[in-house]
Point group: C2
Chain length 272, copies 2
């Protein structure tokens, strides 16, 4: 991605123009039986947004959806689609690469204005200005094609349209194993390594090996700015309770950032 960023800076128009060849890799781990079963038992899968640690921050940043057309990329069980619909969206399109996820979304979160469509995020195609709001929760770290996706989302949004997404934090993805490291003095630290070496990482997740793409904070933000977006928020969600009241098993969440939330807007006076 670093090379792409350098390239972006030299020629954003070419980079963002149509006809970009997307990377071929599209992993569909969620349709594997064992993985899906494990994912389905996650609190956030079973109980939805209330069980998602970052929802208190994401909700505050969630664009108003009243009367708007909303796209949710990597919608999973459809919890964010349901929220957008509940807030009065005129139309919500939830897309996901996994048929199993979408079957569950249709079962748990049906709504007259929601359409669920099976599509890898790299394969999404829409006319310019198709949506007023684009959201994505914890999906962009699964694609190697973040730069192209940002440019496409920019085009799909109407002027003034809003993008809100969360990803695993660069601090969380850099080293790759996504485990605390034991140090020689008997403690543990969160390991950061290979930070500027962007690209795939194999991590253990729910007992399976999953490929996620590490990107630097620079790439996450500069790619948006180069695509034309205005950044309106950058947040690292953390437990909101006062420290003594945080349950033991959540204390580690104060030790390192796990997620990054970014909100951005297409300028209201954008020409395209």
């Amino acid at each position: 991605m670093t090379d792409k960023i350098s390239f972006l800076k030299q020629a954003p128009a070419v980079f963002c123009a149509g006809g970009v060849t997307l990377h071929p890799m599209k992993e569909n781990k969620y349709d594997q039986e064992g993985f899906f079963a494990a994912y389905s038992r996650f609190p956030r899968s079973e109980r939805g947004l209330a069980a998602a640690g970052e929802w208190h921050r994401l909700r505050r940043l969630f664009p108003s959806t009243g009367g708007k057309r909303v796209l949710d990329i990597g919608c999973g069980f459809g919890w964010h689609c349901a929220y957008a619909a509940g807030q009065g969206a005129a139309y919500v399109l939830g897309t996901d690469i996994s048929g199993k996820m979408l079957a569950e979304a249709r079962r748990r979160n049906p709504h007259p204005v929601i359409e669920y469509r099976r599509r890898a995020m790299e394969e999404l195609e829409f006319p310019d200005g198709s949506f007023d709001v684009v959201v994505s929760s914890l999906a962009f770290h699964y694609t190697p094609a973040y730069g192209e996706l940002c440019c496409r989302i920019y085009r799909w949004l109407t002027p003034g349209g809003e993008l809100l997404f969360s990803v695993e934090h660069p601090v969380f993805t850099a080293e790759g194993r996504q485990q605390w490291a034991e140090t020689v003095d008997g403690g543990t630290v969160w390991p950061v390594d290979n930070y500027f070496t962007e690209g795939p990482r194999e991590a253990e997740f729910l007992g399976h090996t999953v490929i996620k793409y590490h990107r630097t904070l620079t790439t996450y933000t500069e790619t948006l700015l180069q695509a034309g977006f205005i950044i309106t928020a950058i947040e690292e969600p953390r437990p909101e309770l006062p420290s003594p009241e945080i349950p033991e098993q959540m204390r580690d969440e104060l030790r390192r950032p796990m997620m990054l939330i970014v909100a951005a807007r297409k300028p209201a006076d954008a020409q395209c």
Copy 2:
């Protein structure tokens, strides 16, 4: 700072209004003889910007200074002041808490449009709209009063005015010791810990214990946004050579981010 952020979100106007009581702590390590002598032998002290690893990125983001009034907060030996003056600034004010630093700045980087003034950054006072450009290199992590400073800088800038600063990266400051950690498997990693516990850290620097303030990325960026700034760039500088050509002693600079550069602009239509 986290509490301040919450507070900021509730009442930015009050937070940013005049008359804010600043934190009392202003450390002036650089006027201690041994520390200053060690600092003076740093390549970036002796040879200036060309020897500063991040300058290649900072320069690309440096606001144009032709005919403008520029403030450099924590100017040190005055290298950035000289650059701004060399680019045609009408007036450059370099401020620093250290008299020794300023004596050196006057000797090494004198210029008819540059004024050097001894002042802790927490004590700076200017009329609204005094500057078109504010820059600061590796100084803001020394103040506990980043939030107040952002609000003040916003007021000191003219509408459309630009802020560019670098700080030690949150990944670099979080754990505190600023050393690679040895792991039980015989390797080293950069340790992140206590990320969301913002505040002072004691690190060894040039053989002395120095107090620096750790802040999260969220605090660095959200504070600016809440103060009214538009963020125009967020960059983590890294060696620019292709990996095989990076000298052995610089390889570690690809393993973890050390600095964060942020560029921001006061909206051209700002009312105050």
